[in-house]
């Protein structure tokens, strides 16, 4: 099973780097055949390019929800992104739309898509470090990904 673990984010925007951080930790820990670890700042259509040809996809990204507790980790599936698909965003399409587009165009998308979203605080200050609450969530996120990989 070809698996892609994709950390999304921006490595210099504080908590927006959390996806990258988790993948970096995983890279130090894991060495499995058929496993690809990628950090990317791509979004929308560019994401579609990255995820074709894999059976399983695990995405790690930052999330901000209303009243959310910093450091909390949500496990989402592609079906959870449906509610936010309506975004008429000013630039580029979102993940849900990209996935649906891929499906419509017959692109070879992963059959299994899991998203680990980590609740963050600050994504607007330039820094290479996360806020303390988010830093503390990284080891747990790493374990959760490792579990996803073991579960097959």
């Amino acid at each position: 099973m070809r698996t892609l673990v994709l950390g999304l984010g921006n490595p210099i925007l504080s908590d927006d780097s959390v996806g990258f951080r988790v993948v970096q930790e995983l890279r130090a820990r894991l060495d499995k055949p058929d496993l690809t670890l990628v950090e990317s700042s791509a979004s929308g259509l560019s994401l579609l390019d990255l995820i074709t040809g894999y059976d399983k996809l695990v995405i790690i990204d930052a999330i901000k929800t209303e009243g959310g507790e910093a450091g909390k980790i949500y496990r989402l599936g592609a079906e959870n992104l449906g509610a936010i698909r309506h975004s008429a965003s000013p630039h580029d399409i979102n993940l849900a739309t990209a996935l649906e587009l891929g499906r419509k165009l017959g692109v070879a998308l992963p059959r299994q898509i899991i998203i680990l979203a980590i609740e963050v605080i600050d994504v607007t200050t330039f820094s290479e470090k996360c806020t303390p609450e988010v830093e503390r969530a990284i080891p747990l996120a790493v374990s959760m990904v490792a579990e996803e990989l073991d579960s097959g």
Partner: protein, 489 residues
């Protein structure tokens, strides 16, 4: 009308805001565009080696990193007082034309076209690239993806990495193009030229021949006069990578043509208490407020502005389309904001043709792609035309090349005043005297803002993924009447 103070310290939670205030008669008194600001960039750069900035500044934006990479690389050239060899400049320009192709394709098909192909007041659930494909067919969708990916591929090969390039070095680029790569790029460029033609035909068939859309483009709601700014080559033709910066007045007359290093003589930045984003304006004319016209120092950048300031396009197919556009719009300069979408496609055509020209240039695989800097670094300015408009990078270093000061005027920043004015005009045209404000009307106000293809980089990568916009309408007492949030339900 009650005077409302908009507190800029109210945290914009990862989305932009348009606040519309109605007067006693229920007409629009004012409209304000607020964008959350990324903080601490200068501090982040201070003390770092300046040649790192071409790898740091692209991180500001996940969508137009190549524009920052190029502007930054040129600024670093200037800091080190080094001139790259001719083939290095051609390689950079080739890479950069690929970037323009990929960016303009993505914007037109994912963001602009849905408004026109499905209709500006159609259901937002349909008004996106999925709805577009459902209407024009899967084949076209595949062509969009293919050509975009081809352009991205060229960028990636030359840039050295997907999305965030590393090829720009002071005095040149990191590697030459091999013959095998060149041949591959040439093939891709040829299909891109055809795709440019196809896209313009689609625009003509679907948008211009539809009276409702043609009226929208030519009508009052999206019309404002302003000065225009853009980069031109030695023949005053549009060039994205290098040249002087030209400014024309609302009647099309040249006001000034300046070198990047002199930008502070031409541009100053105004601040308003209700937003962190500054308002660049022309010093010579002065800041007269958020108003358009000959007496206001507000200027615009981006595709329509670039075509307005230039005397033409440097490649034949694009030139023919340029002439057709101005003939349809009734002459130069064109002030119809929605025509930015048309101009964007003409630029796509030029970028593809120019890309092909460079691929076929006899010199393009020459290995001499770097001149090593020898002078002591001091200060420099680098400018390119980003997909969204003129982009300025200005750096100051100490004698060891460590960053002391960084100033950026990003493309969207140049358009800040114009966006506010356009939004206000659209709102005034659409919301009158007690009229019920529908979602369709609010979307049409947003169209005024989307025509500028603004790049709001913050929160680009946290779910839901992009920075969305909220439109809020207040009555004369400042009480909220309506709110459109097209991002999360």
């Amino acid at each position: 009308m009650k005077r409302i103070v908009i507190d800029p310290f109210t945290r914009l939670e990862g989305h932009g805001r348009i606040d519309i205030f109605l007067d006693d008669a229920g007409d629009v008194a004012n409209a304000y565009l607020r964008i959350p600001e990324l903080r601490g960039f200068e501090k982040f750069c201070e003390g770092r080696p300046v040649e790192e900035l071409p790898r740091i500044t692209p991180r500001i934006c996940g969508v137009c990193p190549s524009a920052h990479h190029m502007a930054s690389t040129k600024a670093v050239d200037a800091v080190f007082h080094v001139d790259p060899p001719p083939v290095a400049k051609k390689v950079r320009e080739l890479y950069y034309c690929a970037h323009m192709c990929h960016s303009h394709i993505a914007h037109f098909y994912a963001l602009a076209a849905p408004d026109f192909v499905l209709g500006p007041t159609s259901d937002p659930a349909q008004r996106n690239i999925l709805g577009l494909i459902a209407k024009v067919g899967v084949d076209i969708g595949l062509e969009v993806i293919k050509n975009r990916a081809n352009a991205q591929h060229i960028q990636e090969v030359i840039g050295g990495k997907a999305t965030h390039s590393v090829c720009g070095l002071p005095g040149g680029v990191s590697k030459a193009i091999t013959e095998e790569e060149r041949a591959d790029f040439e093939d891709k460029a040829k299909t891109m030229v055809e795709f440019g033609k196809f896209s313009l035909k689609l625009f003509s068939d679907v948008v211009l021949s539809n009276k409702e859309y043609a009226d929208l483009i030519l009508g009052d709601i999206y019309y404002m006069t302003s000065y225009y700014m853009g980069m031109v080559d030695a023949n005053n033709k549009v060039n994205f990578y290098d040249g002087d910066i030209r400014v024309v007045d609302p009647e099309g007359k040249e006001v000034v043509k300046f070198k990047p290093a002199d930008y502070l003589d031409i541009i100053a930045e105004h601040t308003e208490p209700w937003t962190y984003l500054k308002f660049p304006f022309l010093k010579k004319i002065g800041w007269k407020g958020l108003v358009d016209g000959m007496d206001s120092g507000v200027y615009r950048v981006a595709p329509l502005a670039r075509l307005n300031v230039a005397d033409g396009m440097a490649t034949p197919l694009a030139q023919a389309e340029y002439e057709k556009m101005y003939s349809t719009l009734g002459g130069k300069p064109a002030h119809h904001t929605l025509a930015n979408h048309w101009a964007r496609l003409i630029e796509l055509q030029y970028a593809a043709e120019r890309l092909l020209e460079l691929c076929q240039d006899k010199e393009i695989t020459d290995p001499n792609v770097r001149t090593l800097p020898t002078a002591t670094p001091t200060e420099g300015v680098g400018v390119v035309e980003a997909p969204r408009g003129t982009l300025f990078h200005h750096y100051q270093t100490d004698a060891n090349g460590m960053v002391e000061k960084v100033n950026l005027i990003v493309a969207t920043g140049n358009n800040n005043a114009a966006m506010c004015i356009s939004i206000k005009k659209a709102a005034q045209g659409l919301i009158k005297a007690g009229k019920v404000v529908t979602e369709g009307i609010l979307n049409m106000i947003e169209m005024a803002y989307r025509a500028y293809d603004p790049c709001m980089a913050c929160a680009t990568h946290s779910l839901p993924g992009q920075m969305p916009l909220e439109v809020v309408i207040y009555d004369k007492e400042g009480k909220e009447l309506d709110r459109l949030s097209q991002y999360i339900t």
